[in-house]
């Protein structure tokens, strides 16, 4: 477990907290940290050492957000913080554009195709969706089976080269 050895809690308190939060992962996709997801919007501490972590939800109905909030509190409590506040902000709206490069690589290694291209403009029907490469064999001959996969944030795809099904993390 990362115990943030290189970031001094006294001189760089916010950075220290952010490093601790690297242990908090998405409960559905445990290879991704909340930092990879880009949902940690701010970390502040007051003079008394009370910490406030501000997060933003991915999808409106994402049930993982409650679990993530609990996990943040738990991680900070175990690091010795007593006064912990987790706030949620809606604006600016979360977008898959905030997924880190490291996060995209981890997704692919885990077997989930990362979002292709930047978010926005998915309104056209039967539109030319960008090519999604199979995370297992790398082929581009893939097809969408359903817009909604195992979770609201993912679509269900199939690779016509290796015949494997896989999830695709949709652009939002």
């Amino acid at each position: 477990m990362n115990s943030a050895p290189d970031i001094d809690r006294i001189s760089q308190p916010a950075a220290h907290v952010r490093a601790l939060l690297e242990d908090v992962t998405d409960p559905e996709i445990p290879v991704l940290t909340i930092g990879d997801l880009g949902i940690v919007r701010d970390v502040t501490l007051d003079e008394a050492g009370a910490v406030t972590v501000t997060i933003t939800p991915t999808y409106s109905g994402c049930p993982a957000m409650t679990v993530i909030e609990v996990a943040i509190r738990d991680r900070l409590m175990r690091a010795g913080f007593e006064a912990i506040s987790v706030k949620t902000v809606l604006a600016p709206a979360w977008t898959t554009d905030w997924l880190s490069d490291a996060g995209r690589t981890k997704l692919e290694a885990y077997g989930i195709a990362p979002p292709v291209g930047s978010a926005g403009g998915r309104g056209a029907l039967f539109s030319d969706d960008p090519v999604v490469r199979c995370p297992k064999c790398g082929a581009g001959e893939t097809e969408k089976i359903s817009e909604f996969g195992s979770t609201a944030c993912k679509a269900h795809y199939r690779c016509r080269a290796c015949d494997e099904p896989f999830d695709y993390f949709k652009c939002l």
Partner: protein, 267 residues
């Protein structure tokens, strides 16, 4: 107003009225999402194919997320301690403000997907406008909802085309669904007198202004789906005034049973 008159600053009574109107509007949007979400959840385990079972329930999840945000916003603005849960589970039929369209029974898949298409096409126009609302809270909710509703509209629209331009049976069923549900569509473009002040303040759109965009999308899909656009001389409305069909009573009995039977329960 004569040019020599100065515009008076809003009185406290006026502000209070505006706030009451906005709360009512938030309940309208929140309730519409909540009730439709509940209807979609009724498909869980009964979808025609597994992928649609999952799709409809995921859309329900998005909608209930949006409903939570809207109802929580209304409760906070009201400042009387009502939360998203109190509003969802402790109000009775005449206090609900949802569109009549969303309380209609699911019917077959064609009815459900037609209802979804008509609703999501409206949601797309509505949330596109609301991202520019002068109320920052509502604009923030709209920005998130728009992203999700864009996928709902695409999913439902593609299905309209598959069904309309499908087999003789699918075409019959989706045309019948369209013919039955069309009488509920005008309500999406109606407002209440209390909306006027909110429209003037740039907080909500003139509901009728959403119609051209909706018409354009619906027309395009109906043409490609080879379906005819209904033209009934009858329409149903009244949801925002708490005048609902008997269906809503059954929905609430199902949805509200648990918290009403065990009021002190907590997770």
């Amino acid at each position: 107003m004569a040019e020599s008159e100065t515009i008076a600053a809003p009185t406290p009574a006026h502000e209070a009225q505006m706030q009451a109107s906005l709360i009512d509007y938030l309940l309208y949007l929140g309730d519409s999402n909540l009730i439709l979400s509940h209807r979609l959840s009724e498909w869980c385990g009964h979808g025609p194919v597994l992928e649609e079972d999952i799709a409809l329930t995921n859309i329900a999840l998005d909608l209930i997320g949006q409903a939570r945000l809207l109802l929580a916003c209304a409760g906070e603005m009201e400042g009387q301690g009502r939360t998203e849960d109190t509003l969802a589970y402790k109000r009775d039929v005449t206090e609900f403000r949802n569109l009549l369209l969303v309380e209609e029974p699911n019917g077959d898949f064609a009815v459900t997907i037609t209802r979804q298409f008509l609703f999501s096409a409206w949601g797309y126009e509505l949330f596109s406008w609301l991202t520019h609302s002068k109320d920052a809270g509502l604009a923030a909710i709209a920005a998130k909802s728009l992203k999700e509703v864009t996928y709902h509209r695409r999913h439902a629209g593609e299905w309209m085309i598959r069904l309309g331009d499908g087999t003789a049976e699918s075409k019959t069923r989706v045309q019948a669904a369209l013919d039955d549900l069309w009488i509920f569509t005008d309500e999406m473009f109606q407002g209440l007198p209390s909306d006027a002040a909110l429209i003037d303040a740039g907080i909500i759109p003139d509901p009728d202004s959403l119609r051209p965009g909706w018409d354009a999308m619906v027309d395009r899909v109906l043409v490609e789906a080879m379906l005819s656009k209904p033209a009934p001389d009858f329409r149903r409305d009244g949801g925002r005034l708490g005048r609902h069909s008997e269906a809503l009573g059954f929905i609430l009995a199902d949805m509200q049973f648990l918290p009403r039977a065990y009021p002190d329960a907590s997770w």
